[in-house]
Every structure is written in structure tokens, then in C-alpha cells.
């Protein structure tokens, strides 16, 4: 039985979020991003990482959270879901936590300004609620295309 799940904790506009550590390849500092024309606004472009080009998503824009200033704390979380690898820009990456899977509850309709579609659940920790993101949904290309269509219209 899987008692504990390791999550990487990061922040978006002061709110703490978590993703399963198994989906995180690495955490990189912000670097020069080459824009790719004619893509959704939240796709900032591509970066070069260890011989590969990796698309970069501004996670705040993706989740429709209002913008914040770029700081030295900004990080790129390189995540991998199935055969898709992308970098997610976050405000900062803070720690790694073990959370008890039993403490995870289904997400409410909206929490921290994020729609439930993108949520895996909420971990009820001692002092706070940690929002766990559903990367599959966030990176879902179908979903992305829908969003894109909306934008293009």
C-alpha cells in the first residue's frame, strides 16, 4: 500500500502547489527562451536543455492566475508525462514533502484560483492545504487545442 507520496512544492502567486516528484525530471533556473510563433500565449517558447529542445509553459498563464513580477527565484520545472516533456515556469520551487496519501481529498470546484479540471486533489497538511496539480490535464493537448481555438477566435 502506498502510504506516502513525495511531492515537489512550488509557488504561484504566493499559493503553494505540489506535483508528484516522479513526474519531475529536474528543476532549472530561468533562461533565455526562444519564442515559437503561432502557438498559445501560455507557451512561451522553447529552451535548450542537455541537447534537447523543451517547450516552456508559463504555468500561471496556463491556470489563468494573474501575472507576477519575474524574480531570481523563478524556476523552470521540467516535467514528464508519458512521452511529453515540458518546462513549467513557476515563481519558486521551495521544498520536497512526504505527504500521506490518506490526507488527499478531492478538489473543490475552485481553489487558489485554479479550476478543478486541473487538480488532482488537495492534501490536508497540519498547517495548510497543499493543492496537487493534475499534470496530465494541464498538458493535455486536446485541452490545449481547445484553449488555443478559443484564443484564436
Amino acid at each position: 500500500m502506498e502510504d506516502f507520496m513525495k511531492v515537489i512544492v512550488f509557488t504561484l502567486k504566493e499559493q503553494r502547489f505540489g506535483v508528484n516528484v516522479q513526474q519531475v525530471v529536474s528543476i532549472e533556473k530561468l533562461q533565455k527562451i526562444t519564442e515559437v510563433p503561432r502557438t498559445s500565449d501560455f507557451i512561451k517558447g522553447v529552451i535548450h536543455l542537455r541537447g534537447e529542445t523543451i517547450p516552456i509553459i508559463d504555468l500561471k498563464e496556463r491556470l489563468q492566475i494573474t501575472k507576477t513580477e519575474t524574480t531570481d527565484d523563478n524556476r523552470i520545472l521540467i516535467v514528464q508525462v508519458d512521452d511529453v516533456q515540458v518546462g513549467l515556469i513557476v515563481d519558486s520551487a521551495t521544498d520536497v514533502l512526504d505527504i500521506n496519501t490518506e490526507s488527499i481529498e478531492p478538489a473543490p470546484k475552485m481553489i487558489g484560483g485554479v479550476h478543478e479540471t486541473y487538480l488532482h486533489g488537495v492534501a490536508n497538511l497540519d498547517k495548510e492545504l497543499l493543492i496537487l496539480l493534475d499534470l496530465e490535464r494541464i498538458l493535455d493537448l486536446e485541452e490545449t487545442n481547445e484553449v488555443k481555438e478559443v484564443i484564436e477566435e
Binding site: 515559437v36 529542445t53 515540458v86
Partner: protein, 670 residues
Amino acid sequence: MDTNQYIEVFLDESREHLQAVNDNLLKLEKQPEDLSIVSEIFRSAHTLKGMAATMGFEDVASLTHQMENVLDKIRNEELHVSTDVVDITFAAVEALEEMVASISEGNDGKKDVSDLVSKLEQLENGGSAPVSQESSSTSESQSSIEFELDEYQATVIAQAKEQGFEALHINVRLNDDCILKAARAYMVFEKLEDKGDLIQTVPVVEDIEDGNFEQEFSLLMLTKESKEDLEKLIHSVSEINRVDVSDLKVKDKEQEQPKAQEDEDPNKAKSEVAATKEAPANNQSAPKQSKTIRVNLERIDNLMNLFEEVVIDRSRLEDLGQKLKDQELIETIENMTRVTEDMQGLMLSMRMVPVEQVFNRFPRMVRGITKELGKEIDLEITGADTELDRTVIDEIGDPLVHLIRNSLDHGIESPQKRKEVGKSETGKVSLRAFHSGNHVFIEIEDDGGGINREKVEAKAIENGLLSAEHSEVLSDEEIYQMIFSSGFSTADQISDISGRGVGLDVVRSKIESLGGNIIVESEPGKGSKFSIQLPLTLSILTTLLVNVQQETYAIPLSAIVETMLLEEKQVMFVQGQKVIDFRGKVIPLVSLRDIFNVPTAEDSKEENSIVIVHKGDKMAGLLVDSFIGQKEVVLKSLGNYLRDIFAISGATILGDGEVSLIIDPNALVK
């Protein structure tokens, strides 16, 4: 046993053996009396059976087992090679291929093979028994005797050949009622005594002298006499049923020493890795000896990626060297540059595989289709050893299948028709591959009826691809290319063989997506030729780097006609579209800045930097801000997340570590 780690090897080897069976079956059909081919097939089936049983693929094992039984009977001349035998064995091979394919997709490779097994059993249990009896009693069958040479003999033969001797296999069969066989054989020996050197006999001389042989024996002889003369000479002896004199055939033992014959072996060790090419020429007929290892393509790609990191650091070092002006450092970096360039070439060559991998499947396909169509067609393959990038190899198969089907179905006429027009009843389709410069060409040529201009014209007009007036000014060549237009292929054209609802336009777009192009030439009554031009490798691209505001883009050189500077006033407007005059042609001008929504920092320049690109015979001018220069870049995919981005075919990493996008000009030329 955990067999997972062996599955890759199992799959690879199974495919190789199946291919070998395939090739050998085709050979056997042409030379049904050559039992050495049967032995080859037997060996492949046997190996397959063993591997499949070990891996627990029982259906594969049971089918190969039954194949083996039939082949064994043939080998022992208890069964005659009939069309039935070949057809059923082919069917079995096809089933095996399906099973192997299913295993490679992670399935269990199960398949109901009982029908095939029982068909094979029928064969084995004398479905063709009368034939086999006949063959052994009438002694019509050719010799099954083979020679196994030791190294010394092989050397002797090789040397003698240099001196103009031929190594001949002389097979003598005595009359069935010949009683004093030894004396008769002695007479044969005596006749040949002064005609050359006897290297070996089967059975050994002692046995022949004692008459210990069935009515037949073989001699291996080095001679300058002609085959016909020798045959005649032997026939002057009494009680000789038949004499066959042929070029030497040698039994191919697993670890056989170099054979002294130029027997083509299409199954030379294939590998995804380029191997020791400098292997001594006379080793080439011993496939098992070539020193290759299998490497997963992914590993080569990883190596390549790591290597690029090195290249990037190298350019950083170059900058440092310039800054520090340290001579020793600069020299070291220069040396490193040379070495890394060589390394890059080597790594790219690892991705190259012979096009044979694709061509291999065609002989059987052609055989099957010609039967279906009731035509007689010879397929001639040349240049199968031409190498292409692995990625291209993986993609080029389907278009080629389509084109070959097309040639067989629409190109080659029926035997009656061919006879009427005075051609040989057997049609010919040639498949050629060759290198030229930075490209590989693949040609498919048939000697059929050629393309009918009127029909193509009519169809194009009917489908609204062409106006009647316009068609009149077009040359034959231009009309022929219409067959590649999308929407050209129509329902009434689709036959069982080609067509299948897919037109040649799909073939063209596939080839273009590989960075290649295709044209067709045709002569009415004489035939057609499809020529495909493909880039040597997809992973390295010569490009022109250009600036669009602050961004750097790469444009593939293959698409560029030329670059030019144009004054603003030379830009014209036609129906709201910017156009320019290029060599007397009006072509559209596309601003990359507008297309790619690049934020504008500065504007209003007197001169426009324009890159003229083409797609087929259509052209467009791409407006950029400045040219940087020509550069070889390594093509990177943008990954699975970013797919189908308009006018971008990929990305590359420049020396400073920055990513630059590669433009797909095809999307920009309308």
C-alpha cells in the same frame, strides 16, 4: 526465466531469419532443384523454432516445426519442390511475420496456425508424393551433392582462379542399370585426367573406387576447358545417364572459411550500426563473421545529444580563447574542433542503414501481386546497399510500396497486350538506389505502357485541377506531374492493387515531409520512371541563418533559390498582396515578421533582404531583416507537446546554446 531482456534480440534475429527465408524461397522458386537453398531455409526455420520455443511463443514454434518437417523431406529428396510447397511456405512465413510483428508490439504473438500446420502436414505426408517418386527414379533432378572446402582448398581455388582456371562442379550420374560403377567412374576420371586438377570428389575417391555410391558422384575440378567440352568428353564414356558441369557451389557451413565464389548473399549481416567496412573482400560471403554490434537507436541519439553539449562548450571555449589570447589554449581548442567534427560525422554515419532493409520485402510482394494480376513481371533491384538515414528508411517504405504497386498494376500491360505491341510478355520493373552528392536517389522504372497524357488531362480537367485552355500550353512533362496532385486519384481508378483509396498525392507529401521530392518521366509505349530524391540524412541540415528582428531563424538551403536585396519601391501590390518581380516572374512576398508575429523594435529600412524559396516550381520571397550566414545545424524536433506548428519544422541549438527555429518553406509557398 525472465525473457524480456532478450526480446529485442529475439525480434531482430527473427526478422532477419524470416527475411532470409523469404529471399531463399524466391530463389528456390527459380531453381527448385537447388537443395542447398532448401538447407538454408531449413536452418533459418530451425533457428526460429529454437528461439521461439525458448521465449515461449508456442504458435511460432509449432508452425516453424512443421515447416522444418516439410523442408527436411525436400532436403532428403523425399519431396519435390512444387508451386504448392513454395506457396504454402510463403503463407507460413507471412503468418510468422505477423506473429513477430505482434510480439514486437507487446502482444503474445498468438495466432491460429492450425490451418497452415495441417496444410504443411499434408505436404509432408505425401501430398506431392507421386512427384517425388518420379523425381528420384527418372533421375531428372539435379545433383544435391555439395562440396565443403577446407581453407587450403579454398586458397588453391582462389589462386587458380587468378591464373584463369575455372572451378567447376562436375556431377555425373550413371545409368541405373550400370553394374561395375567403380570401373565406369574410373573411366570418367581417366578422361578428365589431363584436363585439369581434381580438387575434391563427393564421395571421397576411395569410395568411388570401391563403387560405394548411388548412381551419382561429383568432382570438383580446376580447369581451363569449357563446360560443354567436358560434358561431351564424359558423355563419350558408356553408361552415363547425365552429366552436369556447373560453376562451383559450396555448402555454407556456419563458420565456413571464405568461399571461393561470388554467390550473392543478400543477407549479409545487417545492423543498425555501421560496421567495419574495411573487412577483407573475400570475407564478405561469411556473413556471421562481420563485426557488428547492435545498438539501440535511442542510445545513439543520446550520444548525439551529449555530444552537442560538448560542441556548445567548445564554442564557449573558443570565445574564452579569443579573450585570453593564450596561444596554447587556442591551439588546443582548434584541435578539439577538428576532432569533434570528425566525431560528429561518425555519429551521423551510425544512423545510416542500407536501403536493403526496405527493398527486401519487394521481391515477394511483386511475386504476390503479379500472380494476382495474372501478369508476368521481373523485378530487378540494384543499389540495395545504398545507405540512408534510419529515419528516412523507416518512412520511405510505404511510398515505395505504393509506387511499385502502381507500376505493376497500371504500368505493366497484360501479357497479351505486350505480345500484341511486340514486347516480351514478361514485364520489367527496376528498382534502383544510388548516391549523388548530398542526396540519395531511388528510381522505379517500368517498361510498360507509359502515362497516357489525354487520360491524365481529362481527369485533371474533370476534377477541376486544370482548365481546358491551360492544359493546352502545358508540356507532357508538366501534365504527367499532375498525377501527384491531391484530388487527382478518383474512385474508378482504384483497383485492388494500387489505389486503395490513396492517391499518389499522399506519396508525394510523404516524400516532401522527408525533405525530398518526386518527379515522373514517361514515354508512351515505352514505360515510366518515378525518381525520388531524398536527403542523405535528416538530422543534419545545411541552412541559411537569418535575423527577423531579434530572433534567429534557419531556412533549409535545399529550398532556397537565391537571396537578394530589393529596394522598397520594387515591391508591388497585387490584390493587396505584396509581390516582387523575380526573373520575370511575379512571386508573392511573405514577411516573416508578420507571419511569425515577431515584435517589431525598429522599422523602415531602405532595402529588403529577401530569400527566394521554392516548392516544386512554385516560388515565394521571404522577407527577413538580415542574413547571418550558412550553417550546418542539427535538426531537433520540438517534442511531442508542440506539434504541427505552422511553417516551423523543428529547432536547432546554436553555438551559444540558444535555440533557433527552422522554417519549413513548403508551408510558405502557396
